[in-house]
Assembly symmetry: C2
Homo-oligomer: 213 residues x 2
């Protein structure tokens, strides 16, 4: 899944192009930043997604500018980043971030047929919180009409990952400066119910609470 | 800070254009997704940033394609998103995400002079972890040369925020389905030292550990 578009020019040791690395990061994340251009002006819009094979599913209001633009088949870029920590080196220069990211290029198309549309919505829902879809009131026809669902085909993608401690200049290791990693973790906290107390928290929601990204 | 470019077309009640809302979100975040186009192909690249007034500072290797492209003064979009929770409604349709995001449009330019460059690097460092900059070995001349620092001027920006419980259809509230918010929090965890144990964790790093985003 590589070409000059996705070549990681800098720090090539951080780059990965194999499907497995790319899918692993896409499956760990849930928030994508989608890039597209309108009259030469780039837009970057955050959105949830689901994945099946080399397709990403995006959805939203039929009135969404992002979805309307993307459904015209314009070149797009979907980026998913998970921040794993600040890397504090002894020198300002070697400070860094631990992270996992995927930059994917491709083109999106609108899913028009009801069944594939429902299937894609299910994929997004299951990606976000497995088990929820079967539990909720499914979409009415007019709700489905008010929803745009896009299938983004990954033509090319690359992953970048940085892990581990700072890498300092040899002579800096003797400096009396604290160095190390300040890990960052995205974590679910205590659910805030909107339903009455007699409706218990479902098991899949309990599992979600244990999730790490 | 508005024009048709930043008009939030959908759910306008979630949109905010005042500087204070925009700055608050930019100051809470630390990871931006930067969009730019090369020959009609949009790129979305994650990067750290700092803010001073309506300027965002970006930095990286002088060899970075993103920084080289942006420094040509092309139209760019910088988006910062904080995911605050999954919103589980009774209907599939009303599922949502609690989040805070800023979409900012503008143009970047390279900071060439040493002093403003150091000042911008300090701003990025202080944005990420206040107190660290004064503690570390500052950049050598050749390190500064190997680093590109850009100043992105926010021409227009909009903020979008969703908070609170699901909003369901009136008739769905009686369904026996658990509904509510699964909050998500990005949190620092126990630091992983790379320096010897006799160098204590600095106070600013202890404060960072208490941080919420």
């Amino acid at each position: 899944m590589t070409s000059t578009r996705t070549q990681v020019h800098r720090l090539p040791e951080r780059g990965a192009y194999d499907r497995e690395s790319i899918y692993r990061i896409l499956d760990a994340g849930f928030l994508a930043h989608v890039g597209f251009s309108v009259d030469g002006q780039p837009f970057v819009i955050p959105t949830l997604y689901g994945r099946a094979g080399d397709k990403l599913y995006l959805h939203g209001s039929a009135a969404s500018r992002m979805l309307r633009e993307l459904s015209q088949g314009v070149p797009a870029c979907v980026t998913v980043t998970l921040a794993d920590g600040l890397v504090l080196a002894r020198s300002a220069f070697h400070h860094s971030m631990n992270y996992r990211s995927v930059v994917a290029f491709g083109i999106a198309k609108k899913i028009e047929e009801t069944e594939p549309k429902l299937e894609a919505l299910r994929a997004i829902s299951e990606h976000l919180i497995p088990g929820r879809w079967a539990d909720v009131r499914g979409p009415y026809d007019q709700e489905l009409k008010a929803t745009s669902v896009l299938e983004f085909s990954i033509d090319e993608a690359s992953a970048k990952v940085r892990t581990g401690p700072p890498k300092d200049e040899e002579e800096d290791y003797s400096l009396p400066i604290w160095a190390g990693v300040m890990p960052l973790n995205l974590k679910p906290s205590e659910p805030i119910p909107d339903s009455p107390p007699e409706i218990p928290l479902p098991d899949y929601a309990k599992r979600y609470q244990q999730k790490s990204f």
